[in-house]
């Protein structure tokens, strides 16, 4: 075939591929949102699910997902900051650093079901926390932490070198330089990365099946103590999240309107993740403008 013709065919194929991918996304979003909105209303978002009949909502699941996210971030952010700072600022070239980097690589490519198994054994059984929010948050930490360490390290590395030099050249200690000079500059990147990671945590299910559990007690939303079994805040109660709920209603099929509930829940899940994504982008741009605006 002559090269000109091949070139034209190839270009056509590439356009087709691009078009295909864009339509897959829009098709997917349209499908999920269209079906979801037929089910979503205030009652659906706020009321508890039914076990056998139709008409259940997803209120507790939505709350669980958010609470789990918050708890996970509370654990991961300090650790992630520490690990990222170490790798960006202190880590010498040695075996320990290599081991840390290898661990990050392993943890971030580990299948989430394996993380779930690990959580089941260590947090649920060995630590004795049972199927609980705390176990779930720890499992989520296992694969969120390497992500966050990378985000922090990269954000710190992208701070201009001169900032660090200027501070050290004024006799300011390395540790203070990190905290007061480098971290503030790296913060926008860290926040954007954390928001994106949050989207991932929010949608995670496989790691939670055997850690946070597949059920949720009848929550009493007027009881905000940390210890009573029906309190929403109690970290030792089981907590089925939105993502797990979608999986459960589909695989158990006990409620007659499983399809509609899953539609609604999927739409909310996707909207939330979408929101995280757009918010992260917007925030990144906003903070960039603020820092460079005159």
């Amino acid at each position: 075939m002559n090269p000109k013709t091949t070139d034209r065919i190839a270009t056509f194929v590439l356009y087709t591929i691009a078009f295909l991918i864009v339509s897959v996304l829009f098709g997917l979003l349209a499908y999920i949102l269209y079906h979801g909105f037929q089910r979503i209303d205030l009652q659906f978002i706020t009321s508890p699910p039914e076990t056998m009949k139709a008409g259940g909502g997803i209120g507790p699941q939505l709350f669980n997902s958010l609470y789990l996210l918050v708890l996970t971030l509370i654990i991961t952010i300090p650790l992630g900051l520490g690990g990222g700072i170490y790798l960006a600022e202190y880590a010498p070239k040695n075996k320990v650093t290599d081991a840390i980097r290898l661990s990050i690589e392993v943890l971030s490519s580990l299948p989430s079901i394996v993380v779930g198994l690990f959580g089941l054994m260590v947090f649920v059984n060995v630590m004795g926390w049972g199927f609980s929010i705390l176990s779930g948050a720890c499992a989520l930490t296992v694969f969120n932490l390497p992500l966050l360490v990378r985000v922090v390290e990269e954000s710190l590395r992208s701070v201009p070198r001169e900032q660090k030099e200027a501070s050290l050249a004024m006799g300011i200690s390395h540790w203070t330089t990190i905290r007061k000079v480098l971290l503030p500059v790296a913060l926008p990147g860290i926040i954007t990365g954390t928001i994106l990671a949050s989207g991932r945590i929010f949608g995670e299910a496989a790691a939670l099946l055997f850690t946070a559990g597949m059920s949720s007690p009848d929550l009493n939303f007027s009881d905000w103590s940390f210890t009573t079994p029906v309190s929403p805040l109690n970290p030792f109660r089981p907590a089925e999240t939105l993502a797990v709920h979608i999986w459960k209603v589909n695989s158990e099929g006990l409620i007659p309107d499983a399809r509609a509930v899953a539609d609604g829940a999927s739409a909310i899940l996707v909207l939330t993740v979408l929101f995280f994504n757009l918010f992260a982008r917007w925030f990144g741009r906003w903070i960039y403008k603020r820092l460079t605006a005159s």
């Binding site: 691009a18 897959v24 996304l25 490519s109 899953a262 993740v273």
Partner: protein
Amino acid sequence: MRQRNWRTEGFGRGITLFCAAILILITLSIVYFIASKGLSTFFLNGVSLTEFLTGTTWNPDADPGKFGALPFIMGSFLVTVGAALLAAPLGIGAAIFMVEIQPGWGQKILQPVVELLVGIPSVVYGFVGLSVIVPFLRNNVGGLGFSLLAGILVLTVMILPTVTSLSTDAIRRVPRDLKEASLALGATRWQTIWKIIILRSSLPGLLMAIIMGMARAFGEALAVQMVIGNTPLVPKSLLEPANTLTSAITLNMGNTIAGSAYNNALWSMGLLLLLMTFVFILLIRYVGRKGQM
């Protein structure tokens, strides 16, 4: 003063090292715990390793139980390879489109699309697969719909963004002048793309993108489990139901008694997944080193 400096410096270094070291601790304990449980199938329950890896009969409840996990292993590999075969041309094609054909609006549209596709949770992919792909296959192609093919299709969409964005990075790294020289010598755009970009400069990067995608596909649990049909048999065609290591664990971990041979066999599958993660990492490092040479 010196004392104080030493103390705060030591404090900062120490506390951050502690945080970083937690990563090693977690990794080691994952390996330790999964391995100790996963190996007990062979040491405690006396299942032979050969049977587990090559046997085709899976009936752990029988007496004596049959622990041939080959159908699951095969299933995992088949969906992974299938998804990679579909996602590779699509992902690389999209990457070429973004970098070479339409770097302007093409990238402005595709880039966010790819990022959003990464963000969609896997259960949602599974659910859409269950409510769109499965009935579509059942009504138009034949079989139950729950099939190897359905699993492959769902995974393809899931790993497409990974393959696309990593391929984009790889293609971007090709020096401009290489391309320009080729074009100046009278090669068509496609000849340039094919000879210079795909075959020479970015090949390792593209391979890496595909391997990363495969790693993701191999470990995906819920989305596959929801559409693949979950029969413990080696499928004879794309339209037959199948099973994977991840879906077997997902479905049965909660229904088996801890410590039983059945339960331990599931941990062995987990161990297999863990080992495959290492294999993928080694592959990626190997290809990456090739790329630097």
